[in-house]
């Protein structure tokens, strides 16, 4: 169960980094598939809350205890706390970007897609730091 959630979490998170660039390229090419991809990305950003939430609530508390007792307590107190809350804004960013594409405001949607990709990438890096924090002694 934990592994399935973890792989889903990582896979969907990686898609939220990759898909914005595909959408931007398709918007530039004026390909109508950009609209479908936009709503797929927004949908994935909401779905991501399920594995993220289950991992955080069910499996993370044990890791948190280890991190806080280790050499990198900030990996939880700063990095994980930031990560868990930034994650709540990803669906908001992705949905706004998708609505902009739906409304034909393609140029304006650019910065929102770029923000989604950057925030998702930083969240991924934060996840790696948290994992390293659990091993730091």
């Amino acid at each position: 169960m934990r592994d399935v959630l973890l792989y889903a979490h990582i896979l969907i998170g990686a898609l939220l980094i990759l898909l914005p660039f595909i959408i931007l390229s398709q918007l530039k090419a004026k390909n109508p598939i950009a609209k479908q991809l936009s709503f797929l990305t927004a949908g994935l950003s909401w779905i991501l809350l399920i594995p993220a939430g289950k991992l955080y609530i069910t499996f993370y508390p044990a890791t948190k205890t280890v991190i806080k007792a280790g050499a990198w307590p900030w990996a939880h107190s700063i990095i994980m706390e930031t990560k868990e809350h930034w994650g709540l804004l990803l669906p908001i960013i992705a949905t706004t970007a998708a609505f902009l594409v739906y409304d034909g405001k393609n140029e304006e949607s650019r910065k929102w897609w770029i923000l989604l990709a950057i925030a998702s990438l930083l969240i991924g890096i934060m996840g790696r730091i948290v994992k390293m924090g659990a091993l730091a002694r």
Partner: protein, 95 residues
């Protein structure tokens, strides 16, 4: 039915920051969220989502917030709140 996603984004981002501060500084408030939603994170997720939808529909016709165009307000709000969340947890850890 019209939906103003800019206003929804503005409301939900600032609400998230308010919820973070409230949970960190008020144990009773955190307890209320836990008692209703089983976990404070779920409570924040539900309330932020509701704020996005409710504000987007309720203020669908609004074009500005405090004299700032709704699209600018949404952008500055989301970027500011992302930065403030990180800054808050840095200061909260250090002080």
């Amino acid at each position: 039915m019209k939906f103003n996603y800019y206003i929804g984004t503005t409301a939900s981002s600032w609400l998230l920051l308010a919820l973070i501060l409230a949970v960190e500084f008020s144990a009773p408030f955190k307890g209320v969220l836990v008692s209703i939603f089983s976990h404070h994170w779920i409570g924040k997720a539900v309330l932020v989502t509701l704020a996005f939808a409710a504000a987007g529909f309720l203020f669908a016709g609004k074009k500005s917030v405090a004299g700032i165009a709704d699209r600018d307000c949404a952008w500055y709000s989301i970027v500011s709140v992302l930065a403030l969340i990180f800054l808050f947890f840095v200061l909260h850890f250090m002080l």
